[in-house]
Symmetry: C2
Subunit: 179 residues, 2 copies
């Protein structure tokens, strides 16, 4: 495939994704939510197990209850929409698939101009979140995603140009580590 | 943001991503590789730790050696390009960030028409892969991604329409699990 302008638009879209942590109160439209869930549904997973359930949180009282739990989750109390991932099973492979799913949710939201950030419930708060959402045994709840349109402040860069990520020279090797 | 055609192009791009397991021998162009690494570099991670190193495998002998190890990794022997992820540290949070990174690598490849699939080294083969690539202690090697232009066969659907993923009704809940 030639290096078309469409390719460059996609690369630029992928490269630009940033976490958004403060949200305007406007709701996320139904059409955007549907697209986000459709992209989530088509996520790849090890052996195509699709080991996930998604609890969409539209009820403000539920978001407030979740946002008070321990962990980096306070942002969900200030977001118009939340999504909690309930994963079947445990372990590295499970967390890896959960990361793939989360990234796609953030990207699908970004395609609609909707910002998102990832939070994790800490330790015992994972079970408390399960109780709040009535998630049955056999599922592991770690992740809550907050979604909404970004505030002006959230759209400002948080670091100077070039400082937010390590340069390629510090993370890329060819054929052997260190080369 | 209105539901523009650009939004729908992005949603369609995200939704369509599929693993590609058989590759044409043509090399992945330098420009595509650079874009893939640039998107990888900008991946989000917990507390922006960026706990990853990427070993790009261009040497056929190295890919053959990796493809013979235990796990679902044989595909890398038949791909023109490989990428091995070396993660700093262990645990769920690490595997989750690794999943986010892997998904972005696959998507950036797809933006260039380059197919990709994820393989994991199994058990002791993780340490053998570290030896092949001279990865130092303190890093965990699980994932190898194979990259290349898809064969005709790889572009055919592997399942009947609608059968490759669970429907939304089986994975989405609102405010409470089961509702």
């Amino acid at each position: 495939m030639p290096n078309t302008s469409q390719t460059q638009d996609l690369i630029s879209f992928l490269r630009r994704l940033r976490a958004v942590r403060t949200f305007r109160p406007d709701p996320v439209p139904e059409a955007a939510l549907n697209d986000i869930l459709e992209v989530a549904r088509w996520s790849g997973s090890a052996m195509n197990r699709q080991p996930w359930q998604i609890v969409v949180i539209t009820d403000d009282a539920v978001r407030q209850a979740l946002g008070q739990l321990e962990g980096y989750v306070k942002h969900v109390a200030g977001a118009p929409l939340g999504m909690v991932l309930a994963m079947e099973g445990e372990g590295d492979a499970n967390a890896y698939d959960e990361g793939r799913l989360s990234e796609r949710i953030m990207l699908a939201a970004a395609a609609h101009g909707v910002g998102a950030c990832i939070g994790w419930f800490a330790g015992p708060a994972q079970d408390e979140a399960k109780r709040v959402l009535a998630v049955p045994a056999g599922y592991h709840v770690r992740t809550v995603l907050s979604l909404g349109y970004p505030t002006e402040e959230a759209q400002q860069p948080h670091s100077k140009p070039g400082e937010a990520r390590k340069p390629l020279s510090e993370i890329v090797h060819t054929n052997r580590f260190g080369e």
